[in-house]
Amino acid sequence: MDKLLKILESNARLDNKKIAAMLGETEEAVQAAIEAYEAQGVICGYKTIIDWDKTDRHYVIARIELKVQPKRDMGFEEIANRIAQLEEVESVFLMSGGYDLALTVSGKTFKDVAMFVAHRLAPLESIQSTATHFVLRKYKERGLILSDESRQDEREDSTL
């Protein structure tokens, strides 16, 4: 039922009845499959993609690159899990290449984020260096283009 995951990934708000129709399944079967995916942890949650720039919320995000001294026996696990606990941190990825962990951190102002990095992140044991890059503008998130123009349908009604 891998199609079900694709449908939910592109629109988690479709009700089960519509999903059932699209897949040619019963509503109950869809419900059961979703519950099973949730129980297995395949589906981890449901969120909404919001363009905060269009609201009055003050919201800045930064991508932060961390170089970390891996711990004996634990590798990067311990530090990654510890950072993931911080509520300002939206995402944590272990990376290949020039640095070790990539974070997304959000706050109300650039200063907030900078303070967070200086006071909460940098002092953590085993962090060797940090590099903070502020996000200036978002064009596309999780496959969704955020500009209004992209929603325009260029097709012209023709005689067909």
Binding site: K3, N11, K18, A21, L23, D153, R155, D157, S158, L160
Partner: protein, 390 residues
């Protein structure tokens, strides 16, 4: 002052403008209209195909090609037809690359029909066949198909319409606007009527890649039909290449030779860039076609289920990207229904009678739109139906 009506061709003046056109003109004057009207994919052409077009321009392939098309493309087309439909054509003499399926339809009819010949056109159907046949001086004989037959043409209907003047049967399946398909057993029945006659078949298979459930079968692959069938196909629908204007015809050499003559004088050759891009399409895009088909299929199932839920009965179309629900429960004509819906809820769908008289009582709804767009339209149609005076 010139009286243009005295000057212009009588035949052309007599052609009625497409009913769809009038309706869209009305819609285009309003703000906030959402359309379920277009007859082309919402997908962009797969990138590998666009890139092949760009590269051909980079390399300066900007000349005419041979009249019948690039040799390499004709070979890819015949290989494709054999691989997909088990029909064999000689790339050198039995295939012709055209400006969309539309041109292939035009020159096929022109190459076959004499004034006074009868051309059988199943209805409802794509709007181009009858006017083109009219221009050749043919008599157009409609074969009305019915919802209870899932809009298939039946052997009885066909038999009744064949006379000693019948020249050509237009065979448009999978069908625009009904989504009807002809399965193998239906094709056998049609073939049985046609074998032993001199009636030729123009099989418009432009939607062949868009069938759901069973794969499309070409009537040319049925016993005794190859020699009397011109297959028209193209890249517009399957590969989301409508703007590239590229199609082709395949069939017996004596017919293709004459079609080529008309083509070379009227058109010269199909667009060169598009031909290079099409080679890439046939070589490497089976997976993309499959992904688009799956997406259409999910929308199809959803829209059929939703339309039936809100009270517009509709059979489950097995091909193309249209549904053709009945609006008879509203007591309105198709035209009236579409106009009222447009005015009340700003949703544009196409009246069924634009596709022939037998389309009256139905509307064509295209699902080549995103799910969100389709669901918004359904919500509006539902509100429209609820607010109708009982």
């Amino acid at each position: 002052m010139i009286d243009y009506n005295q000057i212009l061709s009588k035949k052309v003046l007599e052609i009625k403008p497409s009913g769809i056109r009038r309706f869209f003109d009305l819609a285009s004057e309003m703000d906030g209209v959402i359309s379920l009207g277009v007859g082309e994919p919402d997908f962009k052409t797969p990138y590998a195909i666009r890139k092949a077009g760009i590269e051909s321009l980079d390399q300066g392939h900007t000349w005419y090609t041979a009249n019948a098309g690039l040799k390499e493309l004709k070979q890819e087309i015949t290989a494709y037809l054999e691989r997909r439909f088990q029909t064999k054509y000689d790339p050198n003499s039995q295939v012709l690359v055209t400006v969309g399926g539309s041109e292939a339809i035009d020159i096929c009819i022109r190459a076959l029909v004499n004034p006074g010949d009868e051309v059988l056109v199943p209805e409802p159907c794509f709007v181009a066949y009858a006017p083109i046949a009219d221009l050749t001086g043919a008599k157009v004989v409609p074969i009305p198909t019915r919802a209870e037959d899932q809009f298939r043409i039946t052997p009885q209907q066909l038999k009744e319409k064949i006379t000693d003047k019948t020249k050509l049967l237009i065979f448009p399946f999978p069908n625009n606007p009904t989504g009807a398909v002809m399965r193998k057993e239906h094709l056998e029945e049609i073939a049985q009527v046609l074998r032993g006659t001199n009636v030729m078949v123009l099989s418009d298979e432009i939607y062949a890649e868009l069938t759901y459930g069973e794969k499309h079968i070409s009537i040319a692959s049925i016993d005794g039909m190859w020699e009397r069938t011109i297959v028209v196909n193209g890249f517009s629908k399957a590969y989301a290449m409508t703007g590239w204007r590229l199609g082709y015809a395949a069939g017996p050499k004596p017919v293709l030779q004459q079609m080529l003559k008309v083509h070379q004088f009227a058109i010269m050759c199909a667009p060169t860039t598009s031909q290079y891009a099409a080679i890439q399409a046939l070589r490497s895009c089976d997976a993309e076609i499959e992904a688009m088909r799956e997406e259409y299929d999910m929308r199809r199932k959803l829209i059929v289920s939703e339309l039936n839920r809100i009270g517009l009965t509709c059979h489950s179309p097995q091909g193309a990207f249209y549904v053709f629900p009945s609006i008879q429960s509203t007591g309105m004509t198709s035209e009236k229904f579409c106009e009222s819906l447009l005015k009340a809820e700003k949703v544009a769908v196409v009246p069924g009678d634009a596709f022939g008289a037998s389309g009256e009582g139905f509307v064509r709804i295209s699902y080549s739109y995103s799910l969100n767009h389709i669901m918004e339209a359904i919500k509006r149609i539902e509100r429209f139906l609820t607010n109708l005076p009982k």
